[in-house]
Symmetry: C2
Subunit: 554 residues, 2 copies
């Protein structure tokens, strides 16, 4: 039982299936905002489409509407004033459950085809979505385009591909023919039906409202579940645009659009939503407090949570000192360190490090990294494009605290930059602190934002041991090592296997520790406290559906 939309997008699906099997480079959606790919007028049209939302009510035609809410504050200081429908959560749940029957009947092929069509349509909206992401999160334009649109779509497609692969293993039917010696065999016909667990809730975050939402959204949806998207209160628009498109594609294909809805809700309403007995999966990206609350209280659901961590890098030695510093400077600066993958702790031996440029003391490394960051950000157009704007006032407060020197010696102070295009934007450069390994209170909790510590450790072995302990106890999405010595790289590799974190080794060129590429890099391992799931692997999809069989003699 194929489906016209599966046939239409077969090449895309095959590409994704091949990519998750090989984990080689592949992408379905062009990460460059190229007119050749997206159309000559795409940039202009997308900007207009975004602007058309501003100051308006964003209608979705959802049931249970009780009023309107909004209030997103743009980190770039522009007025958004979009109002979104507030809908009774129980009505949304009931409507989603009601829609699941038709979604089940269309089968894995139909669900996959429709999800692929949704992704293709979202891809056509890449500019509109990029503006929405940029203006709600404070990401720079290029990052908002790439991470917010094609990369997010790739992560969504990756989840669809995993889900398709797992669902494909379940045969629709079989004939079971058991020999009985000299007697006639026992013969049964058996049918196997894939059924979604129930309603999935995807709780979005304020910094990556599409990239961190699409994996769970498409994993739950393509495996037969209804999905309620609960966006972060300050990044609703990208989710609303996404949900509207999904609902349109569902309706075009004879599926009740209430299968997917947007739930704009405060904390109290969200808590009622996620603890409802019909909610069977929750995807969450955000802080430890609410994440742990979800895990503790939503016992009726499987919770896929990406939480806080302390990403770290061990510097032992290098034969490319300046490229290393440049690479680190970019990592620490990108989106002002407001990525869940940004390195927070950089471990440097007290005795310094060997480089191709001679020995560098711990203080040299501190000074040189500070210089690398400030040098990289010295051109305003580069700085503004890379840094973006501060997503939240809390992050600015954390920067100010770091700047005050209470957490460690300030090696590089944060500075405030003016953005001529967006005069109200809060733009801050990274702050670098020096501290001792003993100052665990300073660097051993997540300090979200452009705040990093260059931690003085006794030696490389101590640094590796410290890294392992941090990952095991506090979690991390990324770890790095710089070393020219195979035995050191081997020791760090072994430590990351025990602590279960992805390792980047000697990054000195155009790949950065905070980047993870769909289909190739696992985002999170699911094995340390920073995340109990990974984008994406079989575990991310396999438990979102069950198989209901029936059998009879023939």
């Amino acid at each position: 039982m194929s489906h016209p939309l599966l046939d239409k997008h077969r090449a895309t699906l095959d590409g994704a299936l091949n990519a998750i099997a090989t984990r080689a480079y592949w992408s379905a959606y062009n990460e460059m905002p190229s007119p050749k790919t997206y159309g000559e007028t795409a940039a202009e049209d997308g900007k207009k489409a975004f602007e058309a939302h501003l100051g308006k009510q964003f209608d979705l035609g959802q049931p249970g509407a009780t009023g309107w809410a909004g209030g997103e504050q743009s980190p770039y200081g522009i007025d958004l004033n979009v109002q979104y429908p507030v809908c009774n959560y129980e009505t949304l749940i009931a409507a989603g459950q009601q829609a699941m029957g038709g979604w089940q009947k269309v089968g894995a092929d139909g669900r996959t085809g429709i999800c692929l069509e949704i992704l293709a349509r979202l891809n056509q909206q890449s500019f509109e979505l990029a503006h929405a992401v940029m203006m709600t999160t404070g990401q720079g334009w290029m990052m908002a385009f790439q991470a917010g649109s094609p990369h997010a779509q790739d992560r969504g497609l990756e989840a669809v591909a995993y889900a398709y692969r797992e669902q494909s293993f379940v045969p629709a039917e079989t004939t079971w023919d058991k020999p009985q010696g000299k007697n006639p065999p026992l013969v049964m016909k058996k049918h196997f039906e894939i059924v979604g667990h129930g309603v999935g809730v995807v709780v979005g975050c304020g910094t990556f409202p599409t990239w961190n939402t699409y994996p769970g959204l498409f994993a739950a949806l393509s495996t037969g579940n209804a999905v309620i998207v609960k966006p972060h209160s300050n990044a609703i628009l990208p989710a609303a645009i996404t949900v509207r498109t999904i609902r349109a594609v569902l309706a075009e294909n004879g599926i009740d659009p209430n299968l997917v809805t947007l739930c704009v809700a405060d904390r109290a309403a969200t808590q009622k939503l996620v603890t409802h007995k019909a909610v069977k999966s929750i995807d969450f990206t955000g802080g430890n407090v609410f994440g742990q609350w979800l895990i503790d209280n939503c016992r009726q659901a499987r919770v896929y949570a990406e939480l806080a961590g302390v990403n770290n890098i061990v510097i032992d030695s290098t034969d490319a000192y300046k490229p290393m510093l440049r690479n680190l400077a970019f990592t620490l600066s990108l989106y002002s360190g407001q990525m869940c993958t940004t390195s927070q702790a950089i471990f440097v031996p007290a005795g310094g490090i060997d480089t191709e440029d001679g020995h560098k003391s711990y203080d040299d490394v501190c000074a040189d990294l500070a210089r690398a960051v400030s040098g990289f950000l010295s051109k305003p157009e580069v700085a503004l494009a890379v840094l973006g704007a501060m997503q939240s006032a809390d992050t600015i407060k954390r920067i100010d605290m770091a700047d005050s020197g209470t957490l460690g010696k300030v090696v590089l102070a944060s500075t405030k930059l003016d953005n001529p295009e967006f005069p109200k934007a809060a733009v801050r450069t990274p702050v670098l602190l020096a501290c001792d390994a003993a100052d665990e209170h300073a660097y051993m909790e997540e300090r979200f934002g452009p705040i990093s510590f260059i931690v003085k450790v006794a030696d490389t072995a101590a640094a590796i041991a410290l890294s392992e302990r941090i990952v095991s106890t506090h979690g991390a999405l990324t770890a790095g090592i710089y070393s020219t010595k195979p035995e050191v790289i081997g020791a760090m590799t072994a430590a990351t296997m025990r602590a279960k974190v992805a390792l980047s080794i000697n990054l000195t060129s155009g790949v950065f520790v905070n980047q993870s590429a769909a289909y190739s890099d696992y985002h999170g391992t699911g094995g340390n406290p920073a995340a109990n799931a990974s984008y994406a692997d079989a575990a991310f999809v396999a438990n979102r559906f069950v198989v209901v069989q029936r059998r009879y003699h023939i």
Copy 2:
């Protein structure tokens, strides 16, 4: 990187992989205790091997031994008097963790090959294990042989096959080559390592100490984890024999045997074991009280739980009345209803049912089913072979209560049979009760043992609705329907898809609703309260390991 034992058992693995893909009939291990398969002296040798354990200390060479414990009481009344090592649980955990490194290094191929060798060796011990299962659980001989040995081994192999398939999707390495327009591509080498989550604990049950233990044991083991087997206090011997064989095969292959250990522990020690932070998965079969305790308290682990349920059958109509009654009689009698899959509630319309033999009133059905059961058990040799013995005093108490008529009208009273071979065995025939649908307190909780209710419902539609509600709220592993009407079968099918339970339709010949065949029938769906996991599907294995990657420029 293959492994000699994978090569040796490749045909077995391929057979299992094909079977889980097609879910057609297949088995790796002969369910008939045939001398041709098992050897001319296997029956005799196995019995002697079993008897050699009696009255002895069962040494396993495990670390942390503090003493000996035992005390299993055979339902057949024979003296067992086997003593098992009691080991400090923290020592076992630490030893398991220590052994995991070598187990990781041997890779998925090596782990799979070694698990296949273990299963082959357990298969050679089928008679010994069957006697141990029979004498600790009260199963009849043939059932103890089949369910305890080849069927359990098949379920273990099924888990190994699922685990192998999922692990096989993870490439060991890739070259990631990303075009950069006119610039040279970004090229990285990436390595992907499969790492077990940690220590797995498998908590066995008293009725199926191998069949319900092997799936979790082999799923956790083959995905790279250490495993601690915590057997039911009255069914230790089958687990001890299994663990000894596993440890021997591990040691023969250069793996630290402390990877797998037996933990004989009381409830308090078990609670400390399963809540230890190093324990990352728990497989449990048993009652709701301890099962729910595990789910509530073992937050550091993934809990795969098979709990209580209320299995049920809807009788609407039939064109094979006597075969239907015979089929039901066998189901209700097998192992005295002490199976987690035995039907407890049989729903019959108040207005009776149409059959090829004319209309049968509700009372007719009650009387005829009672007659079918007593007729089937009228030959002592059949009755003793099918019924086995009562596994626990609690079950006998439940039978006595049912017999007293407090739960419903006694349609067929339980009788006590003498077993000349085992004079001390407690043998009881099933009790059948008649009650009204309104008497929910009677039939709507699991009454483990040979206690079934023929529940009078308004009509078939009400019966189907009641079945759906029971499955959704109390859980069930099995459901059945008898009907000659496609629309009724369709309605029941739809209800079981919503409630997520496997459905057997019109079973009138040699397959019974309480049987599930490895590779073909999913045991539990994982979607209703009776079990949050299934034997076996991808979800049963995919979350037992993580992938730790490393990457570097080339």
